[in-house]
Amino acid sequence: MATTDYGLKVSRPGYSIESTDERELAFTSERNVLKVKVQGATTVNGVSSTSIAHGLAYLPAFVVYGEITAGSDIFYAANPAEWYAEVDTTNLVITVSSGAGIKDFYYYIFIDAGS
């Protein structure tokens, strides 16, 4: 076995581990996977911001889900008219730019770099 020919593959049910179509694999170590560093729920009250320290010294990838209106339990992955999220080398910052009430948010910050 060549030194570079190693790793792990897990095929999806009904497909062979010998498949050359990566879509038929549940996992292949030839491809990176987004790894969650931290995830959690937070709230923002009215037009304001909240910061979540990520503990990474670089800009990590992230995704945020937020309520469309306070108490709705309807979540958008992006709603630039009312809120947005950004990351720096210290924090993920979620900012509500319009709308009243306490909105629920849920965030995932990844180990993997966002830039």
């Binding site: 996977v33 995704v63 339990d73 979540f75 958008y76 992955a77 770099a113």
Partner: protein, 140 residues
């Protein structure tokens, strides 16, 4: 015993590396898990200013999701997760009316909702497409 798990390092890195970015898989860190994925069609009819398609997720939680929309055509498909109205490009067979298009998506306790918006009532019928991933991971 807490010190158990699996790690697979990226090519060129040792499995004893202390930087988790250097691993393709590290069981100390969760990864998004896909429950379902699919394509949806937005059938625009004359007069529409928006078209919404719902996909039942069948989960007892409100799950995380990922959506992409094909709203424009150029040398390759351009996919958007969400965007406000953007004027069409010169060559845009997906929007024969030549109107600006927008898109967004949200999820509730029952459905993933995907929508496209048209800047003014459609004057012809056409079809746009979207793609979604519904994840096992929560939003609440």
């Amino acid at each position: 015993m807490a010190d158990i798990g699996i790690k697979i390092s990226k090519s060129g890195y040792g499995v004893d590396d202390t930087d988790p970015r250097n691993f393709v898989l590290h069981s100390a860190y969760s990864a998004f898990k896909i429950i379902s994925k699919g394509q949806v069609a937005f059938n625009v009819v004359i007069g529409n200013t928006s078209v919404t398609v719902t996909v039942a997720h069948g989960q007892s939680i409100i799950p995380a999701f990922w959506c992409h929309f094909e709203l424009e055509d150029g040398e390759a498909w351009q996919h958007y997760h969400a965007r406000g109205f953007i004027a069409p490009t010169a060559y845009n067979p997906q929007d024969p009316d030549g109107k600006s298009l927008g898109c967004n998506s949200f999820i509730d306790a029952t459905n993933l909702n995907m929508m496209i918006r048209i800047s003014s009532p459609a004057t012809s019928a056409y079809t746009l497409y979207g793609y979604y991933y519904i994840l096992a991971d929560p939003t609440t």
